[in-house]
Symmetry: D3
Subunit: 167 residues, 6 copies
């Protein structure tokens, strides 16, 4: 990682701002982000059981929450631009005692869709937490992190493999 | 933790539902949640420098984003009840190479404000990520977790101390 | 039905207004509304098949859409009051070639929750239409109508039985 | 109508998803939808009288509600894409004992604006119901249905004439 | 006006915060605010003419926009509490070459409804500007100001008469 | 200013409508608007003092509120089109006893961004009012007015200099 000189979301005099993307060319943008929710073995067993009996509704509800939140990104993250998203997809599955969420977004836009993917992943994780908290308030969300993005001047960025395992 | 029998957000036949809180008494509810954003040393140095020069705007923007997101909780987390919040507060500071966010919420309501605190913390963390991502896409959010809650039938819950350190 | 003298949502000089409910006592309010979506036999077969294979996701998505829309009622219906809902529930099932949606809402409030139930039912129906429209744009929503409400000065209202059958 | 093979809003494994429209070309899209509200003779007389005396405010309020709701479509219908609408128009008039609403929308986009027109029509109808319900809770909304759409790969679709009369 | 010691919306260390109203008693709150839009004689004549011919729709649209915006106050003004409004009313009329808007709000709450009235007045004024700007971009909004508020510890506050005339 | 014949936001028969911009070419659009908040000398001194001690948080909060409100413009101003904004910037500073806000917006769109700039300025002003009202309810917002706009068929418009001074 090169040493950054300045945070682009702060003006020269340090005030937060929405970056001007008017000069950037429109290009196809994609981004993928992931989130984990460590729910503990008892809740994991419940989700597994419910998944069999009752159609995996914790995970399905989380997925829809993620999709809807992606569209609200500019209202949740103050300096984000409104983006006409072409696609949002959220996958959620149980891996051991953790729910693993992967959110992807794409658009043809002047700025990237990383925040849409990150917001979708975080909202899906919050929704899992909400649904299991009566059974286990100690559940923890994290890491929530970008996996990959393409498009724009900086092109493709991909999280290095050894960063993708469990914490 | 006792073995939960059922997830309260799923009906007997497994469908997600908004829990009926109509029979619960109104009581004072508080909740605190925290979130970390691991930004790496280079970005941490930038935030520190900007904090001195330009009034800590990454952290201030994150705080406001958290406060505003708490009020949007029912629109972000599908099964949350709308709650007339009496207070939301979000603190954010740099601790080493991580931004540490603590969000608190309170209300007099039939249901708890855990999700408002969790959503505020997560949105503040997303906002930090948004503002530093041009300098470091590898930053990671987490853990996002409940620290404490009071009120309601289940009364006080507090995260055990040894769970509160760095991951 | 008695002859109404005036529409309460219009002021004496005919302008639309939000009715002042400040003088009304707080009471427990409930309402139930239903909506139908006539999808035709081919789509009904697909929903049925998908329901078996893939967990009834058209109906589950519709249910969640209804729950979330109920919370947005004051932003959708201009003269509605914001209400701290205690519960929203939406059921959706296939009956012959129609999807039948029943939405219920309750709150302790100065004004009724009829519009929350109606909005939930309508939004669930729109969501069904959205998901089946690629297979059948001719699908029709309706009737959307109140089934019952309780609470408030006017007390209980219930749709008469012979009005509840298929159109 | 050809037999559909699959609902495009469900993935191969049956999960609801936002359809990826990234590969579709941008084209001019229009859609028109209608909704009826059967209000009964007493309320119809009131609307008529108010229309003369007080400028048709039930109908005007419904029209504005429809226009505003069209812009909220992606927040109401979970799998809808955000679309930069070029136009929304909502007409509302009394026809006998029913209010007839026609909503039209257009955009230059990768996906159609059917849901924007349908949502506008439904929200306008809900608003009529809200304003007349104190005088007649038995009022019914429906049918809400697409009249026509143009643009996109599937081109023009028009509801057949004999389907357009009263129920 | 007494000399204020501190702004209550800033914490002791100067950070913006949502004031904790949890300790305040619930009381009936009302507020009234006004806004002017100076539209110039040509546009005023058009509004007047349209009012006669076409039912005063600039003013009616502004009124509804104000009512709807009042309900969005916590999403527009970052440190405002969500309040279960009992009533919002917005009047708008032409006075000479200016549109005069008066917005009133009331609720039974722990905090005042001044911002709801102010936001309603401002949004109604923005809507008037939007509708006349093609005819006169030079139109000006202002003053937007509180007229009166009641309830809460500070009780009644009323703008002094000589402040209520034209600027 | 030429004599306008008709308000474009009213249809031929006088009903409010969203203007159809589908036929307009996409062009780069910019707009700047300003707002003043007259806070009085005591509050001005407090803001100044807080600005030194505590990082100008009234002004920073107002700036962020303006940026976020610009993105909500289509939900606040009923007949506005949704616009994919490329940039929003809000400046706020104390000038004597008044806070002076300047908001700018830009987009590549079929319609102008005047309302986004005006809404940002007004929301920032409302936020200043909210934060100082405990110290001075008599504060007044205004004028809120367009300074300049570029792009579109009507091209550049600029407020004449002698209109830009203090009231």
């Amino acid at each position: 990682m090169l040493r950054p000189k300045r945070l682009t979301h702060l003006s020269r005099c340090g005030s937060p701002r929405m970056v001007d993307v008017g000069e950037k060319p429109v290009s196809r943008r994609t981004a993928a982000a992931e989130a984990y929710v460590a729910v503990g073995p008892a809740v994991a067993a419940l989700i597994r059981k419910t998944g069999a009996v009752a159609k995996g509704n914790v995970l399905e509800t989380a997925r829809l929450a993620g999709i809807m939140a992606a569209k609200q990104t500019p209202a949740i993250v103050p300096l984000c631009h409104p983006i006409p998203l072409d696609r949002v997809d959220v996958e959620a599955r149980l891996e051991g005692d953790r729910v693993h969420i992967v959110a992807t977004a794409s658009a043809e836009a002047r700025t990237g869709v990383e925040m849409e993917a990150m917001t979708a992943a975080a909202a899906a994780a919050l929704t899992v937490y909400d649904m299991v908290k009566s059974a286990g308030k100690g559940a923890e969300i994290g890491p929530v992190r970008l996996l990959e993005k393409t498009g724009g001047r900086s092109g493709r960025w991909k999280r290095e493999e050894h960063h993708r395992g469990p914490r």
